[in-house]
């Protein structure tokens, strides 16, 4: 115990002898720290802005070095009203619907931090749907499996793709391969001509687009497998 107190006293004398403040010793150098940046905020609920509406975006940030910050906003559509280099941005949405990326770079002397959000401008156009397979007027065999392939696109993306046969919904969940929706369909329908419809529902608006083909289902007597 006596030895420990002795060591402590020596260290204290050395520290005080250096003329250093203990506080200074514990203080970290933060001159290279990036700015503290929050998320982009807006008055538009869910970042949804109607075509040609004007909306404000802002961001809260501070500089840990105590210096000043610079801002630079970017968006790939619509019109920026006023300055794009403050912590707030005023923006008018384009007439054409779509999902647009809004970004802001916040910089101090040391670093730049970027924050981004997707701003959704609703489009009332119908989703574009195209059935790739089977082809129109194709012959299909009853009780067999076929893969129905379709593409569906919309400016606000697709919420759901459905398959219908003769106005009857078929509860099949498609797999997505790239931008192609694949339905694994076991044909149980009666033989004869049928209309196969693929419907796509757009996000935000729920607008529905569709494509259809006429198919001939050829009857077989299955059995003794």
């Amino acid at each position: 115990m006596k030895r420990f107190i002795c060591c402590f006293m020596i260290v204290l004398i050395v520290v005080l002898g250096c003329g250093c403040d203990v506080e200074d010793l514990l203080k970290r150098d933060n001159s290279s720290d990036p700015p503290n940046v929050g998320n982009i905020l807006t008055s538009a609920a869910g970042f949804v802005v109607q075509p040609l509406d004007t909306v404000n975006f802002w961001i809260e940030a501070d500089d840990p070095t105590g210096g000043s910050l610079t801002y630079q906003w970017r968006i790939n559509a619509g019109e920026i009203i006023g300055s794009s280099s403050t912590n707030e941005l005023r923006w008018r949405a384009p007439i054409k619907g779509g999902n647009y990326t809004l970004s802001v770079d916040v910089s101090n002397k040391a670093e730049t931090v970027t924050r981004s959000e997707v701003v959704k401008v609703p489009s009332v156009t119908e989703p574009k749907v195209e059935i790739l397979a089977p082809l129109n007027m194709a012959f299909l065999v009853q009780h067999t499996n076929v893969i129905v392939k379709a593409t569906a696109r919309h400016e606000n993306n697709i919420q759901e793709v459905q398959m219908w046969l003769d106005e009857q919904y078929l509860p099949l969940t498609p797999e997505l391969d790239g931008d192609i929706y694949l339905f694994d369909w076991k044909i149980q329908a009666n033989p004869g001509a049928h209309v196969l419809v693929i419907k796509a529902i757009a996000q935000l608006t729920g607008v529905v687009g569709s494509d259809s083909v006429t198919l001939y289902i050829e009857g077989i007597v299955a059995g003794k497998n």
Binding site: Q142, H143, G192, G219, I220, V221, G223
Partner: protein, 261 residues
Amino acid sequence: MRALRCASKLLFLLAGLMACKDIPRDNPLDPKNPESVREQTVLAEAFVNTNSVLADSVLYNQNMLTALYRLQSKYGSRMVLSVHHRNLSGYQDSLAIFESEDLYQRYIQGTNDAVKGVPDVFINGLAARIQGASTSENAEYRVDTALQSFLIENGFFTIEPTITLSNGVLRCNTTFARLGSSVAKDILLKMFVLQDMDTQWARRAVRGISRSNLIQNIQPGERKNIQFDAVSGLSNQPIRVIIAVVSEDEYTVYQVKEVRL
């Protein structure tokens, strides 16, 4: 003078013989001609069930047979049709034979994810398959479309069967030759015996199938002779015999010939 006449005759004969040697083998029907071909004939094998109770509920088999009969009339000897009858659970077909079912199972094995069911038509083995028939028109259109691609091809075998029928016993001796310029390997000959039975939808019903041993190779221009086992127990109905040159697994049909007795 006589010696001179004799010498000139000899010269003519010699010239004639030399000229014969130079005759090119350009007859397209000559198996020794490397360019020789035959018109491709197409084998359509239909698997059906013609049970009368089944026919009361669905007409798929009848639709397909109607279509095939029509196409057979349209293409004559270029389309060879055999009709295999199959039993289904609950629907026996009085014309079903084991050999036909065995062939169907073999074909199903050779196709991917195949659903078994009749009517089921195979064109030149597994080269094309048309299953189901909602209407005879649809079936005719689909089979006809499939036939087109084969009818424009050339055949590289010629088949010459000699068939005798005596006291209900059928004997078939077949000579066949390889045409063209390439060797054919691992093939066999298959014989189908068909009869036009007297029940409805029973034309061209297969009553027996025989196979040759495996032929490991046949050279261009080469002829071979195959003697099939005798077939007995045939009824008095009209008989047809089909001879087909097929691959070892029977999935490919190279050429086919039909003889009506």
